[in-house]
Amino acid sequence: MFPSRRQFLQASTAAWTFASRLPLPLAAAATATKESTVLIVIELQGGNDGLNTLISTQDPEYRRLRPKLAIPANTTLTVTPECGLHPQLRGFAELLERDQLSIVTNVGYDQPNRSHFESMDIWHTCLRGDQRRGDGWLGRWLQESTAAPGSLAALHLGDQQLPLALRSQAHPVPSIKSREQFRLQAPNAESLQQELLIAAAPEPSSDDLLGFIRSSTSTALQTSERIQEIGRRSTTTTSWPEGPLSRELQTISGLIRAGLETSVYYVSLGGFDTHAQQPDAHARLLRQLGDGVSALMKDLNDAGHADRVLVMCFSEFGRRVAENASDGTDHGTAGPVFLIGNNVVPGLTGTLPDLNQLRDGDLQYSTDFREVYADLLQNWFRTDSEKILGGSWKPCGAVRT
């Protein structure tokens, strides 16, 4: 009744010709065309210190409020005469030289919430805490898109739970940690896989919770088969830096190059909650980020896929302008968003935050994060953004039209 593992693999290489016999998620997956556009979201968790990421080289207020933490102007990597990147963001500086980096400055939202989780949820859903949050902004985009239900339209890499941004009713989005770990390990893996597929088949009498676990189990088994198969075909010559983010980006690059139909990839980098001993920790994180993204773009470029990929890096909030006594910074408000790809408007979009116009010691944002989303939805995914964002937002102008 169910295909053997070998048949399964043959079928998956043959563009899932048995899809009609297997009414399961993913079975309907289509092969990607080279034209399809891809968005990679990198979530910087904990609240990235934007002021020490994109650094003002001229403003005396910055140096006054950060006597210990201010990054010396002459060490920054020049973006404009007024500002430069953190010295460990060499990867981003290289991207900027190649016109592949756009920095949207001072992005935030009204009445900022300083709880990590609440603010992250606001970014993920575009909804406040008192509104019902069933799905995320990318989940809503998946629903609106033409992606076949059950295709691998989006993929989350990491061992945390699925980001709220990707949640939706129609498109269960898989999470995978790494390609190597993402498979059943058992002496009898083939027969176990088949037995489990039967046990996880939809059952009308099961309640919502059990139904959820059944469909997650099916998705897991089938996605695992596909990812393993693609992994066997993928090769690369790029030298990748160390670290989990880089490994995940490498996996993503392999999947894109192998022609997976996925439109949205989601990864995160944690550790930005730098309340204490910020300088070294922050520098290490920025280096991982810059070097990882730079390697990713090189790898995609070499394989001729760079034109159809765009990367967005965001964080749930920036940090308080004044440093604290622990060589760190507390939760703040606005911060920069980075867009990377061949189709961005290079350099700064927007103006640097005004440190003379603080509210309770915090930055006042100048670009709403939904203007960044609107830019991505309209100018990258070519979709109407109003329904997805729950309102009309003007694209921020960082994506080439």
Partner: protein
């Protein structure tokens, strides 16, 4: 009573009344299995059958009041010292998992796991293994007692102070991290305080430092000025803030609702309404935790079909429960690495909010990780079930009468009925009686969707 309904089968007034065997439902090993799976980490069938001879109130009291004999405590302390000497937090994780698997006080260990997620402190940042052990033992001491002394003790716990940067907070620049999480994550919940409350409370905790691995109050760094927190003003110190925060009406509701979701059901609509009688009991008894657990575990709602099988097992729960049910032992170094891969590393919670519980445990990656955890356990040469290798155990205990064995497994391990197809496959594999087929049967049973729930 419909199982599928989101709505509880009882009103708030009825839900917490004592469960009456034969009136409200049956009282057999299936119900005591539920008690042990939720209140502890499961038990072998013989223990469940014994418990069914007692009343629900007595069975839950015995579970809650079980203690570790002195000899067990001494051995455990010895092993803990060895873990600390290794300097590796993963050794400490292995130590704790071993304690969960073998401690007679399993309700306490279950609650310590709850509190570890609540006061989530990670060895990722607090790399001093001794301090992580101290915190774990501190939690164990307070786990079932009164909440306010517990929070006071946690606020001065060195690992906590380092974790939330309170230890480096200065009068001139107070660090807000601890004050924020005290209100948001430990006591009140998001939105039950203002940003000004956080800033003022942070001032009260200035001067709380860690010196020579111990809490020390540094009066030179303490801000002695007046502060206003949650509507009260005075030259408060940190202990005043804990007291003021716990006085808020939101505090009792926050904790009781969280406990009820942890012990009864992950997803409860209007949980605060349902919990009102418990919240009242908790306030009136001075925030004592054990009587609340006693009420929970002997209540009508607890044994209802609306609760049984409606919690997702956490990876640690899954591993420990399997071993306790089979009177097992294992290489807990390997096992705790496996639970980490499946999303729950002891002493490595993912962030200050701890683990999200419920459906958050389940994704494509963790589901494969959970199945791989089982296969790793069955394949490891150190694994023993009742002193035998897993294959021996299957052959000698389970395969003599496959049908009966599966019925017993259903009772002890599963809160949901096994699907017909799995039942048939497992029976067939048990009947073959080869090492491989026996282990295959067990692997299958412990990987199906029903096993993820308890």
């Amino acid at each position: 009573m419909t199982v599928n309904s989101d709505q509880p089968p009882y009103t708030a007034d009825e839900a917490w009344l004592p469960y009456r065997p034969d009136v409200d439902g049956p009282w057999t090993a299936a119900e005591t299995a539920h008690l042990y799976r939720r209140g502890g980490f499961g038990a072998p069938l013989a223990v469940l059958q014994q418990a069914a001879e007692k009343s629900p109130a007595q069975a839950s009291r015995d579970l809650l009041t079980a203690t570790e004999p002195e000899s067990f405590r001494q051995l455990s302390a010895q092993l803990a010292r060895a873990a600390v000497a290794s300097g590796d937090p993963r050794s400490l994780a292995a130590w704790w998992m071993r304690r969960m698997i073998s401690s007679p006080a399993q309700a306490t260990e279950r609650l310590v796991l709850f509190w570890h997620g609540h006061f989530a402190t990670s060895a990722e940042k607090v790399s001093d293994v001794d301090l992580m052990l101290q915190q774990n033992e501190l939690i164990r001491t307070h786990a079932m007692t009164q909440f306010e002394p517990f929070v006071q003790a946690m606020a001065q716990d060195p690992a906590m102070l380092l974790w939330l940067d309170a230890a480096t907070s200065r009068k001139a620049h107070p660090n807000e991290n601890f004050a924020r999480e005290l209100m948001e994550l430990f006591c009140l919940g998001e939105g039950r305080y203002t940003e000004a409350d956080i800033r003022e409370a942070a001032r009260c905790f200035t001067g709380w430092e860690v010196r020579r691995r111990q809490f020390r109050f540094n009066r030179f760094q303490h801000d002695t000025g007046d502060k206003t927190v949650l509507g009260e003003s005075g030259s408060f110190g940190g202990q005043d803030i804990v007291r003021i925060v716990l006085k808020q009406s939101a505090a009792a509701e926050f904790l009781i609702c969280k406990l009820v979701r942890y012990y009864l059901r992950d997803e409860i609509p209007e949980v605060a309404v349902l919990c009102q009688p418990l919240i009242r009991q908790y306030r009136e008894n001075g925030m004592q935790l054990q009587p609340i657990l006693q009420t929970l575990f002997s209540s009508r709602l607890f044994y209802s079909r609306w609760c049984q099988g409606f919690r997702v097992r956490s990876p640690v729960d899954l591993a420990v429960s399997l071993l306790r049910t089979f009177e097992g032992s294992a290489n807990t170094v390997l096992l705790s690495e496996r639970t980490q891969e499946a999303g729950q590393g002891l002493f490595f919670p993912p962030g200050v909010q701890g683990w999200d519980e419920g459906r958050a445990w389940i994704n494509t990656s963790t589901l494969l990780g959970r199945s791989n955890l089982i296969s790793g356990l069955l394949a490891d040469s150190a694994t023993r079930f009742a002193g035998k290798t897993p294959a021996e155990y299957c052959r000698e205990v389970l395969a003599t009468d496959p049908q009966q064995a599966i019925e017993q497994l259903q009772t002890a391990l599963f809160a949901r009925s096994l699907p017909k197809a799995t039942l048939d496959s497992a029976t067939r594999l048990f009947s073959k009686r080869s090492d491989q087929s026996l282990l295959e049967a067990l692997q299958l049973l412990c990987s199906i969707p029903e096993f993820q729930l308890c």
